[in-house]
């Protein structure tokens, strides 16, 4: 089934969809330009704008549901952005509205949570300004109806991410992490940009509508090139191999940021891009294959990294990488996988945000300690945090009937049908997930107290726990709601197309049982190692594998050896070459002329008579020349 036609729309909530972007943008502008004057109400304004944006999204959604399924793609023209290249417009369709709801809803909750989390930070207003900026950019990314506007949003979220990772800029590690995130993302953008150039050179338009409807007319070589280039962009933004290295460092940012940007929304933009550009990938099998390989590789790599991290946020970040790997895998499969990719994306947004915020709550209680080896036995002190975290945990490992069970299993099943090798690797990933997430929970909430003497943990205030509760509700039920009866797939199909045959849900398929078994083994292994046994305060050295995982699979080392060192060397060489080579040539020329002149000036003896002699001889020569020429 092909995607439906886009219908130009005006009026109603959808006609005002631009407000979704504009409201948080205004919030950000007021807070940034207003300066200290807005300190008092800055956080409230930020929350208000996010919630208002959610309201618009919800109303739009409601209006969209009012149309027949085939008429649910609504385009809104805004203005002529770059004459001849791109007009800016919004595309409200099931795909984008799903994202909008996720972004604004989770975003609003995290805004609320941040009121409590950042209560003591003198720059809270600026924090909310950046959060608002992020929400605006992210919404532009998903609502854009062409690649240029998408790219604007794409870079906008990158900027917000940069600003928020480096929010505590006085910490050199935070500043470096922010810069790294931006630069690695730029490498991805490099691919995305060239992809866009290729699209323009091929189609002479950048609007989704025109490009995607005509994608099948282009040669498969072109489509493969475009697909791979878009994948590079997606890898950068979604922290897929080989551009994954920035995500772990990005945990330097405040925890709500990690929850919103580096778990729930921004990092899934790559998945959005691949799904949105579906027709291009469907015309290029090689590109699709590469997408699935990247997805599987990343889901395993993320999981392995997650097993070895003692930093609670980095462990969660590894898990995020891994889960996005699942989504990318699904997105690479084609229309059969799109719905599961997006559904997993949404449920992941809920449970991962839930867990990140839970982790934030723990850190808030433990004086911003992130080392899990210094936690333990927190379940009694922070019961609410514990329960909500536990729900998120169960959801992610795929505990039956919770969200992850439906969406992740859906992906694994689809992958299994598509390609058995990929499918089994995805199953293996699920098993590892069971291990590292259990490890995390056991180390944090069970076992004995290994607290620092100064730590006095306590439950967080209501403004922080209520978002946790709401998110955990989503983590429990959203999966079942979306997947059962192919509800989401049907909803999404006007936007991304649908497979020939709707999948049916088997509660006890072979794959599902094997997965469950592997997860149970992983969890049990974690219980043996970290739940029952004493957790050493200092990490044991561990095997080669542990070191491998701890050092992020040597990703940073590789980058350093392959790019940074040669880059530094190249830079030094270039500077030297510029100073001595290019400039040296010029200065050498100048010095040469100067030297020659220095010698030539000796001719100026100061004796008036020798000057006169040269004049006289010159005159004689002139007279001679005149005679010769005159007689010719």
């Amino acid at each position: 089934m092909e995607p439906a036609e886009i219908i130009q729309h005006s009026g109603g909530a959808i006609g005002a969809a631009w407000l979704m972007i504009a409201l948080p943008l205004v919030g950000a502008a007021v807070l940034l330009l207003g300066g200290r004057r807005t300190d008092k109400f800055g956080h409230l304004l930020g929350v208000l704008m996010a919630v208002a944006s959610f309201v618009v999204a919800a109303l739009s959604f409601a209006q969209l549901l009012g149309f027949a399924p085939g008429e649910r793609r609504r385009g809104i023209e805004l203005y002529d952005f770059i004459p001849g290249l791109a007009k800016v417009g919004l595309l409200v369709d099931p795909l984008s509205i799903s994202f909008c709801l996720l972004i604004t809803f989770v975003g609003s909750l995290i805004h609320i949570y941040s009121i409590g989390y950042m209560a003591h930070d003198p720059n809270r207003r600026r924090f909310f300004a950046y959060l608002n900026l992020f929400v605006a950019a992210m919404l532009l990314l998903v609502l854009a109806d062409n690649y240029v506007a998408l790219f604007v949003g794409w870079e906008g979220v990158g900027l917000a991410s940069y600003l928020l990772i480096g929010f505590w800029q006085h910490k050199p590690s935070a500043a470096t992490a922010a810069k790294k995130a931006f630069i690695v993302n730029r490498v991805g953008d490099f691919g995305l940009l060239i992809g866009i150039f290729t699209i323009f050179a091929t189609f002479h338009t950048l609007a989704f509508n025109d490009v995607l409807a005509n994608a099948s007319k282009a040669s498969s070589g072109t489509l493969t090139a475009i697909g791979l280039l878009l994948l590079v962009g997606a890898c950068g933004k979604s922290a897929q191999l080989p551009l994954q290295s920035w995500l772990l460092d990005a945990m330097e940012g405040p925890t709500p940021v990690s929850a919103l940007i580096h778990a729930a929304t921004m990092v899934t933009a790559g998945v959005y891009l691949i799904v949105r550009s579906g027709p291009i990938f469907q015309g290029a099998e090689t590109a699709q294959l590469v997408v699935t390989i990247v997805g599987v590789a990343t889901l395993l790599a993320g999981a392995i990294i997650g097993t070895a991290k003692d930093d609670i946020k980095k462990a969660l970040a590894g898990s995020t990488m891994s889960q996005i790997g699942y989504m990318v895998l699904a997105a690479g499969i084609g229309p059969a996988g799109y719905a599961f990719a997006i559904a997993h994306l949404i449920t992941h947004g809920f449970f991962k945000a839930d867990m990140f915020l839970g982790a934030g709550s723990v850190m808030h209680a433990m004086n911003d300690e992130v080392d899990m080896r210094k936690y333990g036995a927190l379940r009694k002190v922070m019961p609410l945090t514990f329960v909500t975290f536990l729900i998120g945990y169960l959801a992610i490992i795929g505990f039956p009937l919770l969200s992850g069970y439906f969406t992740k299993d859906g992906i694994i099943e689809t992958a299994m049908e598509h390609n058995a090798v990929l499918g089994w690797l995805a199953v293996l990933g699920a098993g590892i997930t069971g291990f590292y997430m259990s490890r995390l929970v056991f180390m944090t909430f069970f076992g004995t107290k290994r607290w620092e003497p100064t730590a006095h943990p306590h439950e967080s205030p209501a403004v922080m726990t209520w978002p946790l509760i709401i998110l955990s509700v989503g983590a429990i039920g959203l999966g079942a709601f979306l997947v059962l009866g192919n509800r989401f797939m049907t909803f999404l199909s006007p936007a991304v197309g649908a497979p020939e045959e709707m999948p049916s849900f088997h509660p006890f398929s072979l794959t599902g049982l094997v997965t469950l078994a592997l997860v149970a083994v992983g969890a049990a292994f974690a219980w043996v190692k970290y739940g029952r046994a004493e957790v050493p305060a200092v990490a044991p050295r561990g095997s080669f594998l542990t070191a491998f995982a701890r050092r992020d699979l040597y990703g940073d080392a590789l980058n350093e050896a392959l790019f940074m060192r040669p880059g530094q060397w190249l830079t030094r060489l270039a500077v030297f070459f510029d100073n001595r080579g290019v400039d040296g040539l010029v200065n050498g020329l100048a010095a040469g002329i100067g030297g020659t002149s220095g010698r030539l000036r000796r001719v100026q003896t100061g004796f008036v008579r020798s000057y006169a002699l040269s004049i006289f001889l010159g005159a004689a020569i002139l007279a001679g020349a005149w005679l010769v020429v005159g007689n010719l």
């Binding site: 003896t605 020798s610 004689a620 007279a623 001679g624």
Partner: protein
């Protein structure tokens, strides 16, 4: 025919004079040679229907300009003469090459040029040479003429400015000079009093008469060395004066000095005059650095 004769005579004279101008060592001779050239040219002008210019040539050049030259020569020193030894390498060779080459080239050019017979100025000077010229000057070229007047005034002013020397300190008064004399006396024992005039106590006051001291003996101070030498060479030196000179010579020899030669005395301004330096200090003969080059050129001449 008459013109030809005049031309050839004057041409030869003027070329020889010009060569003399260039090659004579003494500047005064050069000046005279230049005068000869200018006079010859004046005649040639006259021959070529330019009587006014001939007159101007004589009046302005030979009269005024030449006088100026001689004047300056006197200021700088009449008998100073150039050494003709060249100091800049290759200068003379190339100068002569250039000069000869230039002359040959110009001569060739002119010689090759086809020149008809002169038109003559009869038509142009119907009103006479001077009135015709005057008419041109005061009509067509009146602006240039007026400008030249400005030029001349400027030149006159410029010459005054250049030649004027600002006195940087007060002129020494008689008191200063007198004090200076006694300072010198204290330092060198030189007689501060005026030299005795010739003829004091003597029977007559001719320049060759040494003054007599009250005891009737000859005052050595008053003996004019030039005249004494002359008279000695003529054998008419009076015995009193001879005696004085011998005594003086003996005294100097005892001190390890030889008798100063006349030339030396003349250069130092003679025995009677003590050169006063600009600073008002009586110069010790050896210390006179600024005049060195002049003296060197003099001694060069002496050597030849």
């Amino acid at each position: 025919m008459g013109e030809s004769i005049t031309f050839w005579v004057l041409a030869i004279v003027s070329v020889i004079a010009a060569l003399g101008l260039v090659f004579s060592r003494r500047a005064v001779y050069s000046a005279l040679m230049l005068g000869v050239v200018m006079l010859s040219l004046a005649v040639l002008y006259a021959v070529q229907d330019a009587p006014f210019l001939a007159a101007v040539q004589i009046i302005v050049y030979t009269g005024a300009v030449m006088m100026l030259f001689l004047f300056v020569l006197m200021l700088v020193g009449v008998d100073s003469s150039d050494s003709l030894v060249e100091t800049i390498r290759g200068q003379r060779f190339w100068a002569i090459v250039g000069g000869v080459g230039f002359a040959v080239l110009l001569g060739l050019g002119i010689g090759n040029a086809v020149v008809g017979s002169p038109k003559g100025l009869a038509a142009a000077t119907q009103a006479g040479n001077v009135p015709s010229l005057a008419q041109l000057i005061f009509t067509r070229h009146v602006f240039a003429f007026e400008v030249t007047s400005a030029l001349l005034i400027t030149a006159a002013l410029g010459a005054m400015v250049l030649a004027h020397r600002e006195r940087t300190e007060a002129k020494p008064t008689q008191k200063d000079l007198s004090r200076q004399r006694f300072v010198t006396f204290g330092r060198t024992g030189k007689n501060p009093a005026p030299l005795p005039g010739p003829g004091t106590y003597a029977r007559h006051n001719a320049i060759d008469m040494p003054a007599l001291l009250p005891d009737g003996s000859v005052s050595p101070l008053s003996v004019n060395r030039y005249i004494a030498r002359y008279e000695e060479s003529q054998g008419i030196l009076s015995p009193e004066v001879a005696q004085v000179l011998e005594q003086e010579e003996a005294a100097l020899r005892a001190n390890g000095h030889s008798t100063p030669t006349v030339a030396e005395e003349a250069r130092d301004g003679g025995p009677d005059t003590e050169p006063m330096d600009e600073d008002g200090v009586v110069a010790v003969p050896v210390v006179r650095p600024r005049g060195e080059s002049v003296r060197e050129s003099l001694s060069e001449e002496d050597g030849k």
